[in-house]
Symmetry: C2
Subunit: 200 residues, 2 copies
DNA sequence: ACCTGAACACCGTTCAAGT
DNA sequence: ACCTGAACACCGTTCAAGT
């Protein structure tokens, strides 16, 4: 039978259900980032990947910069989990430093786009909030405190982070083009940094 | 009197003289980079700065990526000069390390856009040629050789470069937001790195 | 409540036409 | 030999109209 209250139905039409979601969009953007680079991470490519038209994305995210920021924050979250797993609270600091550095390096090689988003960020509107970034520092700060003592903990943590992020950024960028064993240079650096920071 | 060979003049019309030059374009692009960021470095903004229309730029440079690369190469050239001046061939290595690190840091703070172009490069088409990048390493390699000895020179040089570039990249990015004395952390890192690499 | 086509501003790049 | 306007493809974003 014909619907007797089609007018009412039209007025109270069931709102169109989402054909995508913020989580799916962020995931698609992260994949596009690694596949095409930050330059190729466009609203159009992401929209095509999740199966909607570009304007629809604006119902879920505030725009491209905001989307890049969400991708960066998700990546920091993943990195925090990796570092926490590699360097548990009660682990011996020298071994923990080695494990955390190796975990960061693996992350950088697996997801160079995400690594760059975290350590070579663009305009402020695309950067993770400071609260998110702070959490990632916790394991390094613990290691630095045990190695260098509380008075130098902050400086030591910054030395570790600067060296590791700088090394991996160079490796990703292909700055180690000519010769040498990159693995050996990384191990050498880890050992020297650990020596240098250890309370004497 | 009327020119009797105006036809010939038209045929052999003096070619339009350049209203700009590659050097002026690269300079304008470098200024735009620092003033507006890499995102704001557009063919339109550069053209306006040198006083021509955007298509005219293509008579002097191959396109935006090529222009970015020229800016990067010019910046590397400037940096090489700064490092060479800060750490002369015959200087004592520990002092030279301190001076070179300080020079790099000053460069990064003065020209963050150029610094990022060198140490956090984008697509290959925008990167300085490897030959240019190699020259910048020379003073660091000399210092590393004297500190760590020839066998570990390459690894030591990579440790120095990774730490310094990572530290300054973080500082430029504002990653040292919360507390602590950044100058002290830099001095601490310099001293610890020098200790760690010194032949024992 | 979300999706869409159309539209606008902006950018990189090409090209025929000017001088 | 260089400069220009016009044009094209592409991108981010807005908005009225659909369901």
């Amino acid at each position: 039978m014909a619907n007797v209250n089609s007018l009412a139905d039209d007025r109270t039409a069931v709102p169109a259900p989402s054909r995508t979601s913020r989580a799916a969009i962020v995931r698609a953007a992260a994949e596009t980032l690694e596949a095409e680079g930050l330059h190729g991470l466009t609203m159009q490519s992401v929209a095509a990947r999740v199966g909607v038209r570009p304007p629809s994305l604006y119902k879920h995210v505030d725009g491209r910069d905001a989307l890049v920021r969400l991708v960066a924050e998700a990546a920091v979250g993943d990195l925090i989990a990796l570092l926490a797993a590699a360097a548990p609270e009660d682990s011996e600091p020298r071994g923990a430093l080695h494990a955390a550095a190796a975990a960061l390096r693996t992350f950088g090689k697996d997801r160079p786009g995400a690594f760059r988003l975290i350590f070579s960020p663009g305009p402020p509107s695309t950067r993770p909030g400071p609260d998110v970034a702070l959490l990632a520092v916790a394991p390094v700060l613990r290691i630095a405190t045990e190695l260098a003592g509380p008075d130098d903990a902050l400086e030591a943590a910054r030395t570790i982070t600067a060296w590791a992020s700088g090394f991996i950024a160079m490796e990703i960028a292909g700055a180690f083009g000519l010769g040498g064993d990159v693995d050996r240079a990384f191990d050498y650096g880890t050992a020297r940094i650990a020596d240098a920071l250890s309370r004497r």
